[in-house]
């Protein structure tokens, strides 16, 4: 996690990073213990043991060879249901800084092996009322505390974890699409047909990475828990050149966009943070800072593919711009 600025209460941030590291170690230990049973016949133990500290203060002893075997812990579907201990992940999106650079979208697509039109985070052009100027509105999954998608899922393929993340296990999903119809934020994508990338066997499937995707199942933004376990920011937050996306832990009251680290509560209180469509009662964990004192004129956002500009053709403001020949 790159950070240039520090804040006064730096102990808290150190804590955030430390816990992040430790939880990834737990995961490593957890997997290796499980796979020890499964892969016994081909595993030769060296006998060397390493002691590790778990987040809940216990010391565990694991095979040293196992740790080396899992540079990046593979989290099985069953393990992915638990969540990272003592975390309440939260995202804050500063609408004043967004200029539709689409780095978040592209970085996310690359990391999650998504096609051109498959976007876990979408950039919408939203206009609050007739008088106000539209603004760019990056929209990931809101990882609600009252997620309608989880309530309606008949098999538990989509689930809410203790660390606030809502994940999809595409090995459990039967593809009934009820979650899509119940999500008021259109956050979900269905795999309608077969694609070659589904046969990618470079890494075993984990709900935490969502790779490989599977035909006939759902996928969506996952807050990149694989990166969180390593103490890193999600791809979208890391990629944004404007520092629009802050990510952090509500328990520690800290969010960071990679450049500045701030208290979550102060950011929300001082800047008038809100949640989109609050009245629906879904209690999202993605907060927005209103598009006041914008850093970029709206038109800067139209400096992109013609095909993507076409998306916004129904917004009255865009029609007006087109009429005046500005885009």
């Amino acid at each position: 996690m790159a950070h240039k600025n520090t804040i006064k209460n730096s102990a808290n941030r150190r804590n955030f990073l430390k816990l992040g590291l430790m939880s990834s170690i737990t995961a490593v230990a957890g997997t290796s213990l499980v796979s020890n049973f499964a892969l016994e016949e081909e595993k030769k133990t060296t006998g060397e043991k390493v002691r590790l500290l778990t987040p809940d203060g216990k010391i565990v002893e694991v095979e040293a060879s196992n740790i080396n075997k899992y540079p990046e812990a593979h989290i099985t579907p069953a393990e992915s249901r638990k969540g990272i201990p003592n975390r309440k992940f939260v995202m804050v999106i500063d609408l004043a800084k967004c200029k539709n650079a689409r780095s978040c979208v592209e970085s996310c697509q690359k990391a999650h092996d998504l096609d051109y039109n498959e976007e876990f985070i979408k950039i919408q052009l939203i206009q609050n009322n007739e008088e106000s100027l539209p603004y760019w509105f990056p929209k990931p999954c809101f990882h609600c505390d009252e997620p309608p998608c989880v309530t309606v899922c008949p098999t538990g393929a989509t689930f809410k974890r203790d660390d606030n993340i809502v994940l999809v296990d595409n090995e459990r999903c039967i593809g009934c699409k009820f979650c899509v119809t119940s999500c008021p934020y259109s956050a979900r994508i269905f795999n309608w047909g077969h694609k070659d990338k589904f046969e990618n066997t470079n890494q075993p499937y984990s709900p935490e990475t969502g790779i490989p995707a599977t035909e006939g199942t759902i996928m969506k933004c996952d807050f990149c828990p694989d990166l969180l376990r390593q103490g890193k920011l999600p791809y979208c937050a890391k990629a944004c050149p404007m520092g629009v996306i802050y990510f952090g832990d509500k328990n520690e009251d800290i969010v960071t966009n990679g450049e500045e680290t701030v208290r979550f509560s102060e950011l929300i209180n001082d800047r008038g943070g809100y949640r989109h469509l609050e009245h629906l009662g879904t209690k999202p964990n993605v907060y927005y800072l209103p598009a006041v004192n914008r850093q970029f004129p709206l038109e800067r956002g139209f400096n992109i593919d013609e095909d993507i500009i076409e998306r916004y053709k129904n917004v009255p403001y865009v029609q007006d711009l087109k009429k005046r020949g500005k885009i």
Partner: protein
């Protein structure tokens, strides 16, 4: 004339219907099988290529499959409701229509759920519904409700078949061996003794009330699949009763159409008479008034309170779906009311015409509930792919929809080959009650 002789006579009367297949019905069966074959090909395409072959995409994830699903399940529900009521209140003229109603009920509860299976992306994982069930999901409720309803309706249908199976077993001396054997197995040792008859009557009566209750539960749960979400256009408190009325509306209409066709092609003018059409027509009139009232209330309150997202939905309905809206909610309600309201218009043909309009109108009404709502989500669709913005069904979806209808008609015809469409036992019962040996009018 004693009862045994009368039974023989009736079996003789109905046996051509059971055993002989006319050229017209052979052509019909061939045609239906052809439709089903095309549907089967479409099904294979959908299985091998995935749901990409349908018109459904990320915004409109449910298309005409789910509309057909609602349609058939509501047919079954209303069939059960009507069958239960007819039986429970011992309606005097029920005998001629009760079997049509019961067969409709069972067939549509078998065909309806097949459409929901077509919506499921991973049919190979269907057993996960039972391996990892989650009781708070309305889909789980739906599965429980439909399975219960299916078993209940099937039992009820079978109970009403038993006396006829026993009559056919005792009176088909010249029938082929397999038929005799089948009847003797299916009649379950029923000998039509007084105690057996009383017991069977009691069970049938209990079942008739149970299937009414089950039907209401099943259809309410189905409505909740929509109304328990937060989507504008779905999140409505009146959806469960609205769906129940809508179900009755299409159910009574389908029964009227079935009565008309059966009467015409099997020459049963003597049994299915104008009084049945007028009776069913008046029921349809009452339900169409109720249905129109519910529809009006639903849209009127959305329009009057004009919340942003409701208005967006209504704008979609009145622009993109203008003619569908007019057809479903104006023509589909007002034309049947207009025909059925005036006594002089109540002829067999016009009542059947009103029923056909009601069926089509209701199907479009369901379409307008499902598709436009999904096309106007809370966060506006900003996409460049036309198929992701608007839903248009593909030939695969239509082929499978017509397969459902064809299968319904085909199975109906096959069941009519097994048991007489007018219950013989019912005729006997009535004659026994009225002490007539050979009545002239059989209602």
């Amino acid at each position: 004339m004693d009862i045994e002789q009368r039974k023989r006579e009736l079996v003789k009367e109905f046996s051509p219907m059971l055993r002989k297949t006319t050229t017209i019905s052979k052509i019909w069966i061939g045609f239906l099988i052809a439709v089903i074959a095309v549907g089967f090909y479409a099904l294979i395409l959908q299985f091998t290529k995935g749901h990409i072959v349908t018109g459904m995409r990320d915004n409109v994830v449910w298309g005409i499959y789910i509309i057909n699903f609602i349609f058939f399940v509501c047919l079954s529900y209303s069939g059960a409701f009507i069958a239960g009521i007819l039986h429970f209140f011992k309606t005097p003229w029920k005998n001629s229509v009760s079997r049509i109603v019961e067969i409709t009920t069972v067939l549509s509860i078998i065909i309806g759920p097949i459409f929901i299976l077509l919506c499921i992306g991973r049919l190979d994982r269907l057993h996960y519904l039972f391996l990892y069930p989650r009781i708070q999901s309305p889909i789980t409720w739906d599965i429980i409700a439909i399975l219960t309803d299916l078993i209940g309706c099937f039992l009820y249908l079978y109970l009403t078949f038993i006396p006829d199976f026993s009559i056919l077993r005792d009176n088909s001396d010249d029938a082929p061996k397999w038929r005799k054997k089948l009847y003797s197995i299916l009649s379950f040792g029923y000998q039509d003794t007084t105690s057996q008859r009383e017991r069977l009557n009691k069970i049938t009566r209990i079942m008739s009330t149970m299937i009414i209750a089950m039907a209401i539960v099943t259809y309410s749960v189905l409505a909740w699949i929509f109304s328990l979400t937060v989507q504008p256009g779905w999140n409505s408190t009146i959806f469960a009763p609205y769906f129940i009325i809508a179900g009755l509306y299409s159910g009574v209409s389908v029964i009227i159409v079935a009565m008309y066709l059966i009467r015409k092609y099997y020459h049963l003018n003597h049994y299915i008479r104008k009084v049945h059409f007028v009776g069913a027509g008046i029921i349809l009139l009452v339900i169409s008034l109720l249905f129109g009232y519910f529809t009006f209330t639903e849209y009127f309150s959305r329009w009057f309170s004009h919340k942003t997202h409701d208005i967006e939905l209504l704008e979609t309905l009145f622009n993109r779906y203008f003619w569908e809206f007019i057809f479903a909610n104006y023509i589909g309600v007002l034309v049947p009311i207009g025909i059925l309201f005036f006594k002089k218009f109540r002829t067999i043909k016009s009542i059947t015409f009103a029923a056909v309009i009601a069926i089509l109108g209701l199907w479009f009404n369901r379409y307008l509930i499902v598709v436009p709502t999904l096309e106007t989500p809370y966060i506006p669709i900003q996409d460049t792919r036309p198929e992701f913005i608007h839903y248009s069904s593909t030939w695969i979806e239509w082929a499978l929809s017509f397969t459902g209808i064809a299968a319904f008609i085909l199975f109906f015809m096959l069941i009519m080959k097994l048991v007489p469409i007018i219950p013989i036992s019912g005729i006997i019962d009535q004659e026994r009650k009225s002490k007539k040996i050979k009545p002239k009018i059989i209602l």
